[in-house]
């Protein structure tokens, strides 16, 4: 008979996660079905491959973001990191810096920059005691500024075809329902490349368990022997690393480097994560949730284009969807 039961403390249970995942998957399939009936262009090998390509980058950002949100934090900088890294990788590839200007070297350095930014975030949050919102808001602004300073506001065109060509490649294919050939885009394989280790880390490793424990009660985790500092570093590094990876993919896809790219992507990543059932209070989240969430958002955009809807409507629909999904989720998880 205690008054402990606050709504957000009522969560948990892997059964719940599976159920939510299935509900979201059903939502995604219903949207696909409706669009296939409504338009003739949606359910084509070409468009689906395109949709997978479009959604890939937000999906990877959302996965990284989810690690931070599970610890009860937030990372507002992921869009800026992606933009900054796209500029850095372009800069490296268009100069002659020996090993650093090879594709492998440039990508490695770019990912290293991501790790460094993540370390810096965690330093601010843990050592300086700044709220995660403030710390990452600050780097979100500063990174764009640093990028503009370096390039003097100019856009860098990448002339390396081997690099940019990667984003147009595909791997494995199968015949589509209309007889044409469907190939899984390389960008989508990149999502899988990130999602599988992320899933294992979050659900099968003890570090994943610790992230949840910290999100639920940092002090209890500390008193249970969890190295809270190291785990928070891990979360922010993972988020920034994913963002840097997206920055590299972005540079490949659009063939230019510009620090103002990926504007607003942090909010799309957070929205995907939240639609996927992640709680901004921490300690609730999964990998499949944000993944499905991001493709739901992409489907809305893609479908609205095909239906010739005013693009402004896409934003309104996205906003409404966030409210509806999170509301039903909170209803299901307990009253209030």
């Amino acid at each position: 008979m205690s008054d402990v039961t606050v709504s957000r403390t009522r969560r948990g249970g892997s059964g719940l996660n599976v159920l939510l995942g299935l509900t979201l998957l059903a939502l995604l399939l219903i949207m696909w079905l409706a669009l296939s009936v409504e338009t003739r262009t949606f359910w084509t090998a070409n468009n689906i491959a395109n949709l997978l390509r479009q959604g890939a980058m937000i999906a990877i950002l959302a996965i990284g973001e989810t690690f931070v949100i599970i610890t009860g934090g937030i990372d507002l900088s992921v869009g800026a990191v992606a933009g900054f890294v796209s500029m850095m990788v372009a800069l490296l590839l268009t100069h002659d810096l020996g090993l650093a200007s090879t594709i492998a070297g440039a990508v490695a350095i770019s990912l290293g920059i991501g790790i460094f930014i993540g370390l810096f975030h965690a330093f601010g949050v843990v050592q300086m005691g700044l709220p995660p919102f403030i710390m990452t808001l600050a780097t979100m602004y500063a990174l764009r500024g640093i990028g503009l300073l370096i390039t003097n506001g100019a856009t860098i065109s990448i002339t390396n075809d081997a690099f940019t060509g990667f984003s147009r490649q595909s791997f494995l294919g199968f015949p589509w329902t209309d007889g044409s050939w469907f190939e899984i885009p390389m960008l989508f394989w990149m999502v899988i490349l990130v999602a599988v280790p992320a899933y294992i880390l979050l659900n099968q490793s003890r570090w994943g368990r610790y992230l949840f424990a910290i999100g639920s009660n940092k002090e209890a985790a500390r008193l249970s022997g969890v190295n809270v500092t190291a785990m928070i570093y891990l979360a922010y590094v993972l988020s920034a690393f994913c963002a840097a990876f997206v920055g590299v993919l972005l540079a490949m896809r659009i063939g230019i480097g510009n620090p103002t790219q990926a504007e607003g992507w942090e909010l799309q990543a957070i929205a995907s994560s939240v639609i996927g059932g992640t709680s901004l209070f921490g300690a609730v989240g999964s990998i499949h949730g944000p993944l499905i969430g991001s493709f739901i958002l992409t489907t809305i955009n893609n479908g609205a284009n095909l239906l010739n809807l005013n693009p402004f409507w896409q934003r309104i629909i996205t906003g409404a969807l966030i409210i509806v999904v999170v509301y039903f989720d909170s209803l299901r998880r307990g009253k209030r």
Binding site: S2, T5, G12, G13
Partner: protein, 527 residues
């Protein structure tokens, strides 16, 4: 059920009988024996939550100006009763008569209008506002539609002074101790013209002095004709303060007694059908090797503390809150490392710099506050139990899911945690069962020295007995225990060695029961 909703116009709205400017202590004191009609009568009060029958036809009459204790185990229906009386939940059936007239009592607003108020265990006020702003919350003085802070400050201060509280009305609430905040909550209820005031476990987080101030206030309220309902697990407080006591068990009223005509054993028997000897039952265990010795250990909040713990021994640390006991054990656990002195662990000198070091040595700490320090409330019971041993349950970095569930299930069985499953969130369990999770997770870890900081706060008598049994089984297995408690009977009955803390140092040490309660208490207070 099926009672029509009475017309609200029949509800008598209470007005304070005396002006607040009049000194409370000069108001006429009605007879405490309650010669007049009862102020509140409950008839066959019944409440069901779905399948749960929380209150079973309770008949109870509260007299004007009495202090009426309600005791019972967790889950006996005390909280439900308060929620019905304060209008938080509507009743399922039965009748409530306030000053002779039936009342619907379906909203907190209505209850407050009648003069029924509650002061909760955990203060429900706004920590960032001033004391005065909290007292006037929801009923602010205004001038021309704007807040009149000066008047509120003045009136708030004069109310605090009248009640005999030494508190500044302009202070920010969060700068006060929990005890002082509780006094503010009482002042707030007083200002609303409370005729019927419910205190729910008010002393759980209070120091002895704060509790004494609160008791003085409660007696004063009584003298002014206010009916006080006092809910507490601490029976000695009930005997010190109350006129009558009602005992709830499994949602039913099993009896009402005049305090003068009953005793502690009698009450416990009514509450749980078990005697006090059975609660503090402890098997004799032979002491073994010395596990831990501290030599003049000093740190933040304590100094020159020398204690030693042997296998099979319970070392009790008694003292007032803030006497340095918690700080001392936290330094043993590496939370706030000691700054001076020596720690000898199983014959070898060690420094403990982090929780991890302490755990690796074999020290376990079940912290004072379950909610803030002990549990990840939103996560599963099994998750919480396994948290300290995830490393042992994993192969390399990956969890062994089979071992994980098996370890959780075994501990839930061994410690007898009542839960639907290991994946149910810890928040869904009762306070006593939550405490068993905290203890269970350290049993799981398998330490040599167990430190329990206030293990039975807010836990009912039956669960207390189970927790003591768990301590006993630790001793049987050759572990040592350090137990901090502010509840003297508990450390008195259980500790083989008892150290009394006062202002950061050990004021006295005792062997098992070699001094009286009074002696120990005066050593702790320093008189």
């Amino acid at each position: 059920m099926a009672r029509g909703k009475p017309r609200l116009s029949r509800v008598p709205i209470h007005r304070p009988r005396f002006e607040r400017s009049m000194s409370l202590s000069t108001a006429p004191a009605p007879t405490a024996s309650g010669a007049g009609a009862p102020i509140l009568v409950l008839e066959k009060l019944d409440k069901r939550f779905g399948a749960t029958h929380a209150l079973k036809g309770v008949d109870l009459a509260f007299e004007r100006g009495e202090i009426h204790a309600i005791v019972g185990e967790n889950g006996a229906g005390k909280s439900t009763l308060i929620k019905l009386l304060t209008g938080v939940h509507p009743r399922t059936s039965g009748e409530v008569r306030w000053q002779g007239a039936p009342v619907p009592l379906v909203s907190p607003h209505e209850a407050i209008g009648l003069g029924i108020n509650a002061v909760h265990q955990e203060v429900v006020l706004c920590p960032h506002l001033t004391v005065a702003a909290n007292i006037f919350l929801g009923d602010e003085s205004t001038r021309a539609g704007l807040l009149d802070n000066r008047t509120m400050l003045r009136e708030g201060q004069s109310l605090l002074d009248e009640l005999g509280f030494d508190l500044p009305a302009g202070a920010i609430l969060s700068s006060l101790t929990i005890g002082q905040q509780q006094l503010v909550a009482t002042a707030r209820a007083e200002r609303r013209g409370a005729k019927f005031l419910i205190f729910d476990e008010p002393t759980a987080y209070l120091t002895r002095q704060e509790a004494a101030a609160l008791f003085k206030l409660i007696r004063r309220l009584k003298a002014n004709g206010v009916t006080v309902v006092y809910i507490s697990h601490r029976l000695e407080e009930v005997f010190e303060l109350c006129d009558r006591v009602s005992i709830l068990r499994d949602g039913a009223l099993v009896g009402t007694r005049r305090i003068a005509e009953t005793n502690e054993n009698d009450l416990i028997a009514l509450m749980i059908n078990r005697s006090i000897e059975q609660i503090y039952h402890k098997d004799k265990v032979a002491f073994g090797e010395t596990i831990l010795t501290t030599d003049k250990l000093s740190g933040q909040g304590f100094r020159d503390v020398s204690v030693s713990v042997r296998e099979g021994e319970i070392v009790g640390l008694y003292g007032l809150i803030g006497a340095g006991r918690s700080e001392f054990v936290q330094s043993l656990f590496g939370r706030f490392p000691a700054t001076g002195g020596r720690i000898v662990w199983q014959g070898r000198e060690v420094t403990i710099r982090s929780e991890r070091t302490a755990m690796d040595l074999g020290i376990a700490l079940a912290p004072e506050s379950r909610r803030d320090q002990g549990l990840c409330l939103g996560l599963g019971v099994g998750f919480n139990i396994n948290l300290p041993i995830f490393k042992r349950l994993s192969l390399g970095p990956l969890m062994n899911l089979g071992m994980e569930s098996a370890a959780a299930d075994k501990q839930i069985r061994d410690v007898q945690i009542k839960t639907a499953s290991r994946t149910s969130p810890a928040s869904s369990l009762s306070g006593g069962n939550q405490q068993k999770i905290v203890i269970g997770k350290w049993l799981n870890h398998g330490a040599k020295l167990f430190i329990f900081d206030e293990p039975t706060v807010g836990v009912d008598v039956g669960t207390k007995a189970e927790i003591y049994r768990l301590l006993g089984s630790l001793l049987q297995n050759g572990a040592g225990v350090i137990m901090i408690s502010s509840y003297l009977p508990e450390v008195y009955e259980l500790a083989d060695t008892l150290h009394v803390f006062r202002r950061g140092a050990i004021a006295a040490s005792h062997k098992f029961k070699d001094a009286s309660h009074e002696t120990i208490l005066s050593e702790a207070i320093g008189v």
